[in-house]
Symmetry: C2
Subunit: 584 residues, 2 copies
């Protein structure tokens, strides 16, 4: 596997999956472009995510879109202005800046996760760690905030930040969204969009970017509900590989649990958190990563974000960097909504109906309005307001002890005021929802899909992407590009497939073997060849990218046959008539 990454990078550049941005200006670390095939693959992966997370749950999950740029107040409330930082250290000789924890880990081989800047500075001093480039002395470790900062409008104090996650958009607009749904909890609000994280020195290509795309859902739940997750049963038997924080500390490998077991044993603290982990496992499998190449890793208290009470990372194996996180699963509790309630003053609670109305006993002050009106005239409203503010218990005490109520200087005699006890039916109460969040980094999923699809066969590259996410679904080829009749039929077949909604392309350049090879390399699942038999009987050859086997299908049945082959996982045998053996 040593050079698999290099092979993929070469393929990605040459055929147009991805490459570093701004190359003609020497590049800028942490930025990548998606080329034509990369965008097509990404769009299909996003659409698949939308199917798994939004459309399959469309009775209570919706998607919204909020801006990348937000005012500073939002990120003060969210805690990012204070806490979204990495430790940084500068060389006092050459001025280079480094991520201090990574520098110390590389120099000592030990994990320093969660240590403070002062502790890191001490280690640097004690172990005499110096600038890895010039050997100069390192300064004090400081904190560097990873938010990209800008100014909104022409006034200098109006700071804005690029969002480092999508979540705050869902929290800030939570009220509007639930008002537009006739929903009760749980409610999921999903989003797909760009985020920015101003990493100090990103060096891991597509796996550590300063700007990337997230697909994320905030799933708002009733923390007290006996059944917070109505869809839970649909995934209760899904098998998850989980490495708890404790297993990590004890150096144990991940263990297998069904979702039901993991929740019952308390390995996953919340049913909804677990449900979306199970959906995430299915989703990542559906883009071509096998179960044994992924697991969920629980983060320790020092490793979790500031808002989270339990977090799992969904890890996928890749060649160059070992295990990388493709999604994060956080139980964010009511942290965010509560903070935004505090910072904005808005009411972000949800009305929770009781299963049946509850009877509560309430005391209320009742007074003689006519008496107060006559006695206090213009001041009467003020008196009534004062009475309404008075605690009924206090009113009872005053009546008991003094036979009258004196409030804010006004005296109302005992026969004009009394405290009544009333029974009241209450149908529910307002609560602050809790939140569980599954959040995917799209570019990492795109990269993982390409790497896990990469095969070599007889010295040739095949990108065995799941058929339904391949950038192109089908290529149409005239067997002989200089035969006008074949070309004419081939163009007609191609145009018909495009009209039928297939992502098809037409290729008439070079020998047929070379054209098959070019198509295999970018993962085109089906190649349709128009040959001399086509002119006789109207059948075309359909070639399977993975097996290189071929079958004949009549042109009139081609769209239906390809739909079954590409989207329903049918084999060549099932869609056509077997014709000849393996052929490249």
């Amino acid at each position: 596997m040593a050079d698999l990454y290099d092979k993929i990078v070469e393929l990605a550049r040459r055929r147009g999956f991805f490459w570093p941005s701004y190359e003609i200006y020497g590049g800028v670390a942490g930025f990548y472009d998606l080329g034509p095939l990369g965008v097509a693959l990404k769009n299909k992966i996003v659409e698949k995510w939308r199917r798994f997370f939004v459309k399959d749950h469309s009775d209570h999950v919706v998607e919204i879109e909020t801006p990348v740029i937000g005012p500073s107040r939002v990120y003060e409330a969210s805690g990012h202005v204070e806490s979204f930082t990495d430790p940084i250290v500068s060389c006092s000789s050459c001025g280079r800046k480094y991520r201090a924890d990574h520098l110390v880990e590389e120099a000592t081989g030990e994990s320093v996760e969660g240590l403070s800047p002062r502790q890191l500075t001490e280690i640097i001093r004690r172990k005499r760690i110096r600038c890895p480039v010039c050997g100069g002395e390192l300064g004090e470790v400081k904190v560097f905030n990873l938010l990209f900062r800008t100014q909104i409008g022409p006034y200098e104090g109006d700071i804005g930040y690029l969002r480092p996650e999508l979540a705050q958009g869902m929290f800030v607009s939570f009220k509007r969204v639930i008002e537009s749904m006739r929903g009760k909890l749980p409610i999921g609000i999903a989003q797909v969009g760009r985020v920015g994280r101003n990493e100090i020195s990103p060096r891991q290509a597509m796996v550590r970017l300063r700007e990337f795309t997230i697909m994320e859902m905030e799933y708002f739940i009733d923390p007290e509900a006996s059944d917070p997750c109505p869809v839970y049963e649909n995934a209760v038997d899904e098998v998850l590989r989980i490495r708890t924080y404790r297993d990590k500390l004890e150096d144990n490998p991940p263990r297998e649990y069904t979702l039901g077991e993991a929740v019952e044993k308390g390995v996953i603290v919340n049913k909804c958190l677990g449900y979306w982990m199970a959906v995430s496992k299915r989703f990542v499998e559906s883009v071509g990563v096998r179960g044994e190449d992924m697991f969920f890793e629980e983060k320790g208290p020092e490793e979790r974000a500031h808002y989270s009470s339990q977090t799992f990372d969904q890890m996928v194996r890749v060649s160059r960097w070992g295990w990388v996180e493709v999604s994060g699963h956080s139980y964010r509790t009511d942290y965010d909504l509560s903070r935004h309630m505090k910072y904005s003053g808005a009411d972000l609670t949800v009305f929770k109906s009781y299963p049946k109305p509850v009877t509560v006993v309430e005391k209320r002050i009742v007074y003689d309005r006519a008496y107060i009106g006559r006695k206090y005239r213009a001041e009467a409203p003020r008196v009534m307001e004062a009475l309404s503010r008075l605690d009924p218990e206090e009113a009872e005490r005053l009546l008991r002890e003094r036979g009258a109520i004196e409030v804010e200087g006004y005296v109302i005699p005992g026969d004009k005021v009394r405290v009544v006890v009333e029974e009241k039916k209450v149908t529910g109460r307002r609560i602050v929802p809790h939140v569980v969040e599954p959040s995917f980094g799209v570019e990492r999923v795109v990269y993982a899909a390409i790497e896990h699809a990469y095969r070599e066969k007889e010295g040739r590259v095949i990108l065995s992407l799941p058929r339904d996410i391949a950038p192109f679904s089908v290529v149409v080829l005239p067997l002989n590009e200089s035969d006008e009749k074949l070309v004419e039929v081939a163009r007609r077949v191609y145009e018909n497939l495009v009209r039928e909604g297939f992502d098809a392309y037409y290729d008439d350049s070079g020998g047929i073997g070379r054209r098959y090879a070019r198509a295999d390399e970018i993962g085109v699942p089906a190649a349709v060849t128009i040959d001399y038999q086509t002119l006789e009987d109207g059948t075309v050859t359909v070639r399977d990218r993975d097996s290189w086997r071929q079958s004949r299908v009549h042109m009139s049945r081609l769209p239906a046959a390809l739909r079954q082959f590409i989207y329903m996982g049918r084999s060549l045998d099932e869609i056509g008539v077997e014709h000849k053996g393996e052929q490249s």
Copy 2:
């Protein structure tokens, strides 16, 4: 039409199309959220654009994705750091800042487009224009750069900007993209993505945003080609309403031209520019704006961006703001690629094959390598390099006049060097492509689609969006939500439609009339009702949003019938059996 905008804003908030962002923090001008229905509508409009601009031209148009944040060098090269500005003026009393040209236009009623800050300052002084809020005196007019500025990484000098347009991403990565295509010109590179423009004081809701989404294509052409636009003939008869700059100055209305006429008469300076204008007209019609509600307006020399030699804006009529631009069409010439070649040193030319090889006559200096090697020893390479730099014409003159060549102090006698004349076959040459650009603001198209779909009928609202872009395609309703049998069948029909890929929802809340009304209001083209006849004969009622007519279709035929109704524009009569008359 006076209060149509207010009605749409109310509908948009209540049902979840769009609303101002950050409302709980008092809002920030120029930022809008898309709610669940807004995202669904936007995604369908983007997908439709992709069909018109990319997929229908997939043999030579591709889509890529480049970052929002770019290093300063890119926007120095593009000219935005220098030229992407608006005039700004501050009140010296209250400190408020205004867009100076708008302020002057509002105060005087005259257009001041293209005037310099000094000229604007003079008008403010001469006409005694004062602060519209506090009446204070206004200062000097300055320029305000509309780029959102940030810092990339931890070094303070490393300025980055948010892109104000997508185009620079396509120009900077142009070389990589054409290398990954086996293409010759024309080549289109498209992109959909977020951009930021730090407007001084945006006040036009969804129509003037500080952050929005663009769908754009850079179409790279050979400026010398006799046939620069191979697809031109497909649109040559399309009728375009165009108001030239001259007609604008003379206060004439737009005139109708076929594309062919407009190009022949020189109204549109380039065939490719015109072709994409015609496609843009078809695209905007396909989202529901009629031909008479749109025209193309040519911009004058003062109104065009710094890079453009001809620009048209595609204008669409909306209630509150009159005519607004939904797309821009610029002939950008080779400005951008040439600038990036100069700033980066990279070669962004394209090899252009001649129809047949051309013979050119070349002079070349030939010398006796052995002689120079023996005579100059270690210095020989330097002598040879000097000879290679020498102009052959100059070498001929020296030989003629002196019988020897003296170059950089070295003398080579006439019998060791000569100038030969050679004929050479040249198959083509490198050119810098020109660019035409159709560029859409997505949120404006979304808004225009909603406004042009808005109808009222018998006091109720119907959003008559084209069926194929409606956020939901179909709603499934049990006639009586408390009849278990109806509910069971309705759930099954709903789940089947979801599985078949329809954007469907299920509604069993409230009377059937109210449910139809709710569906009409958000533009659901088809309502499927499960009633008592369904239990008898397996047919369901399909109701048309626009006519309120109904027809019966058998459940087994429902997906196919709905596909014809929604995507192929078939009527109820064509998909089912007419059953009863109009019914709300």
